[in-house]
Assembly symmetry: C2
């Protein structure tokens, strides 16, 4: 465990997908590498706080992936192994990364996933519900009754297909993360500040709108905050950038044990830091050679990226 994670004031629970990805980008192709939102989230967050992972894999899930999670001290007491094949996703990115095409999705053992928290985890204070069926997200909340701060991710598939369950969930979460198109679809508002205002009325006191290489916007009680994306010249694989953002964000809140507006702003930058590393290699490979010194250095680079002097006018 990193020194920072060892010093964390709270622990962090995540539920979501762990899977095997086959990805092709201009930088190359990788088959059956570690993927899934909860994988990216867990390892990104692990640099800042101890992580408890709730997910399901099949009997074909490679030992090396389990080992990677263990090396990052991710607590796997909630990782079920069941007969069958692991969730698989396959996709290809346009040469300029402007679009991605899903070639194949196999739910496999994920199809019948019913998240069950180990008894000791029901008191988790920081909870992240990665992008899965809102019915399952809600079932996790019903088990984690002592949560202090709950954030959830979602996607257009649920916004369109399970809207009622999603709306019920939103009444019980503190923060929703979603991308700009999803924010527009959920709210019916094209303008992002208007969309965020509408979404906050549905329950979450904070809304984070992720915009890829245009950064992320936070709307919350502390006003509006704009986090830039780090300009990366050699993007290798954008898969999991949003989930790594979530990991850095929630990892920082759990590390600080605090959800004040100032801490949430810093968490936005920490999320952006982890996301910026994530895209520099395939799968979770960049995290394998990441350390706290590099995280500190990039956090400072974000400060420099947006720094300007006060004026006299």
């Amino acid at each position: 465990m990193s020194a920072a994670a060892g010093n964390a004031k709270s622990s962090l629970l995540v539920v979501g997908s762990v899977g095997l990805d086959t990805v092709e980008t201009r930088a190359g192709k990788r088959a059956d590498v570690l993927g899934g939102a909860a994988s990216y989230f867990s390892v990104a967050a692990s640099f800042l706080a101890p992580v408890r992972l709730t997910a399901v894999v099949g009997t074909d899930f490679p030992a090396e992936h389990t080992k990677l999670l263990e090396e990052h001290k991710v607590d796997l007491a909630g990782l079920e192994r069941v007969p069958g094949r692991t969730f698989r996703w396959s996709g290809v990115y346009a040469k300029d990364f402007s679009t991605r095409t899903t070639l194949d999705t196999q739910l496999n053992v994920f199809q019948d996933f019913q998240p069950k928290l180990p008894p000791a985890w029901t008191s988790s204070e920081y909870v992240f519900l990665a992008n899965i069926d809102p019915v399952l997200q809600l079932s996790v909340l019903e088990q984690a009754q002592q949560s202090k701060f709950v954030a959830c991710d979602t996607m257009n598939f649920w916004i369109g297909g399970k809207r009622d369950a999603l709306l019920k969930l939103l009444q019980r979460v503190d923060m929703l993360l979603l991308n700009d198109e999803e924010a527009r679809e959920l709210s019916g508002e094209a303008n992002l500040p208007a969309a965020a205002r509408a979404i906050r009325k549905l329950g979450p006191s904070a809304v984070v709108i992720k915009r890829g290489d245009a950064g992320a916007l936070l709307f919350h009680e502390g006003g509006v905050f704009a986090a830039p994306a780090f300009p990366i010249e050699n993007v290798v694989d954008p898969t999991g950038a949003g989930d790594s953002f979530g990991g850095g964000f929630m990892g920082w809140l759990a590390h600080e044990g605090d959800t004040s507006p100032a801490t949430i702003r810093t968490a936005m930058i920490m999320g952006s830091v982890l996301a910026s590393f994530s895209v520099e290699d395939f799968s979770l490979d960049r995290f394998k050679r990441l350390d706290l010194a590099q995280i500190r250095e990039r956090f400072q680079a974000f400060s420099d990226l947006v720094h300007f002097e006060k004026i006299k006018l």
Copy 2:
């Protein structure tokens, strides 16, 4: 003249279009209102520095528009009035402002425009070449031999159609402003930091990539700087936002009489401030009721928008 413009250390020359726009957005429709890149630029910059405007209009150009420019102390010694009709543009924006469609463009007297600087203006230190034929932009540079800092704007029409003239121009300018698609087209690079690096090799030591509501990126000797766009809920008319950005940017440089990396960063924010006001009403109407106190206040709002604390990790 505003107190700030009166205190400016240098004056600012702009050459570009002045025209009459007919615009329709979700907020309404306006016919034959004041438009053109140089109009937006001049009035935006006028809050910060005295502006010298070089452009051409026809005999039909309404006196009220001339009066607006005069009220902002824009020096019109270089504004030719020639027989014929003024340049006209007409367009309609999608309800969500994601696209705009040009319905009509009439060059009219702009067709034969040959910019001629009044003799006293050839010593102008700060020069902005708004988006016109690069051959004309070059002819202005040949007249302004004592320039200290030259910035130019361009568009895909010239990148594709007058590439040789544009490349010749770029060897002589200090800064190029363009949008993300134009940067990709000019450089052949999809990745924006890579595109900026390629463009800097063509001549300009600084490149500003404008990304609309995703803000603007500056690549220069002082590294990379990311300026956010101000989240505006009630966008009325985005026409001229980029030109207003240019006006605020160059106005600040001329006000300070300085082009250090720190001043250029501040200029990026001042450009963003003026752009954010510009979109709040049709044509240049928002500038009619703008004052320095509001500019100061929004500059501070930009500081708040990106502010986050240092961390211990």
